[in-house]
Amino acid sequence: MTKQEPKPSYSPRRSCRTHWLQVYALACACFFTSLVGLCLAYIIYRGSPTLSTSLFFGDTAPLAAILGRQPIWDGIWPACAGTLSLVATSLALAIPPGVAAGIYLAEFPKSWLSRCVGPAIDILAGIPSILMGLFGFTLIITLRSLTLPTANTSLLLSGLCIAMLILPYLASTTRTALLAIPSQLRLTANSLGFNQWQAIYRIYLPRCKTAIISGIMLATGRAAEDTAVIMLTGAVANAGMPAGLLERYEALPFTIYYYSSQYQSQQELNMVFGAALTLLIFTTTIFTIAGKIISNQHDTF
């Protein structure tokens, strides 16, 4: 063994006690949370005193109103019901094709159909919602003049446009979840003689269930909050309870928008904050559930 050469003596870098990144990150986090906190606090502060049966049902008796025996005026219940029906309609329209497209894109990425649908879905995801509303509106106008003179702006039309808006969410969460399946699991499934549909149905989908459900939750939140689309496709200021798919309807976000810019009385101003708080509770509940699902998912995998 030759003699050890002396180790080079490097000058060690001073480890500063607090790195600038810590300070910056802390500042950003404080700034961000306090802004969001301010918004939330304000809505709760202004909204919670307004929560009462008269906020929801105006001067109609709540029971009669819920049973639909009496029309509701100056209450946000019809808007709540409208938003719920809108969400249900758009989910019903978006989930089957969205999830199916996601599965198809993940499992048959090489087919010509995937090559078309993939970019199409990406493009759809980038389209501003007002354009979707514009599309819905022109669609109706065109349909009326061409084939369907009874077509009209309605819950169904809004549902359809919102479905197109949230479909990319569903497709891409499904696709991402399926793609995240380790190739080892795919090999395993194949090596055990599953055919592709059996593998998807019995192995992959159950495994991605939580991811897909949380995608649906996020899509629900999107559907509930969108204003630009419904403004152009059938939401109106006064419609009473939603009467059917082909009727116009009220919706919470539209109510908020409408009355926040033109409240004529304290009561209408209350409706703004009451509706905002209601909508906030609705969407945060949904997002919280989605968050729970996501974090559980992290635990199990």
Partner: protein
């Protein structure tokens, strides 16, 4: 080293690989000019890391088709259900059956993310229509064969990934056996197991050779000499037969 197969007189050829070439990412990773596989024999595939052993095993039941970056050429003939079958000519719809008949156990244990019982039953149900008692019986037999039955019989509903590594490995073996394969591909069934566990699995393999044709990968010389009827060498992607020990 004496065990039943060694004393069998005739070596019946049931598999024939020729001019096989598998490319991954457009780079040829294995080539095999000519290779025979013999019924009820243990073929041990050895060679350095990265020489293409796993890839070769996957070629035998066309699992490389599942890798998007794989291209396979050449012909592989295997006797399946008593018939000569050119497996490279099979249509995609026939692959699930092929893979049941040419069962594979992977290098690292890969239980499905469900219970032990489901691990056994899901592939079985995908393959065959069976009554409940039949399912039960097949499951039990396969687990017994893999030497796992006693360890798991009263916790069949446990998540399979809660088992220890060695147990998982044997579960994967049992799962494959339950599908009634004719040829069994084992990829380093004892890698990263401690010596005791290794011996146990080796003994199982020797037993299994009475009923299946086996191709197994091994790194260790000791294991090779203990198991091998035939040795297949993998060297820099060239797969070729070698003389038995």
């Amino acid at each position: 080293m004496i065990h039943s197969n060694k004393s069998m007189p005739a070596n019946k050829i049931i598999g024939n690989v020729s001019e096989l070439e598998v490319a991954l990412d457009n780079k040829v990773v294995i080539k095999c000019d000519q290779l025979e596989i013999y019924q009820n024999k243990i073929h041990v595939l050895t060679g350095p890391s990265g020489s293409g052993k796993s890839t070769f095993l996957r070629a035998l039941n066309r699992l490389n088709d599942c890798l998007s970056n794989a291209r396979t050429r050449g012909s592989i003939c295997l006797q399946i259900d008593g018939k000569e079958t050119s497996i490279d000519k099979l249509k995609p719809t026939q692959l699930p059956h092929l893979r049941r008949k040419v069962g594979m156990v992977f290098q690292s244990p890969n239980p499905l993310p469900v219970s032990i019982e489901k691990n056994m039953l899901l592939p079985l149900r995908a393959a065959y229509k069976l009554s409940k008692p039949e399912e039960q019986e097949i499951t039990q037999q396969a687990l017994q064969l893999a030497g796992l039955w006693h360890e798991v019989k009263d916790r069949m509903h446990l998540a399979a990934d809660k088992l220890s590594g060695g147990q998982q490995q044997r579960l994967c073996l049992a799962r494959t056996l339950a599908l009634q394969p004719e040829i069994l591909l084992l990829d380093e069934p004892t890698a990263s197991l401690d010596p005791q566990m290794t011996e146990q699995i080796e003994d199982t393999i020797l037993q299994l050779a009475d009923r299946f044709t086996i191709v197994t990968v091994s790194h260790s010389l000791a294991q090779t000499s203990k198991l091998a009827d035939f040795i297949i060498k993998a060297e820099d992607g060239i797969i070729s037969a070698s003389q038995p020990t």
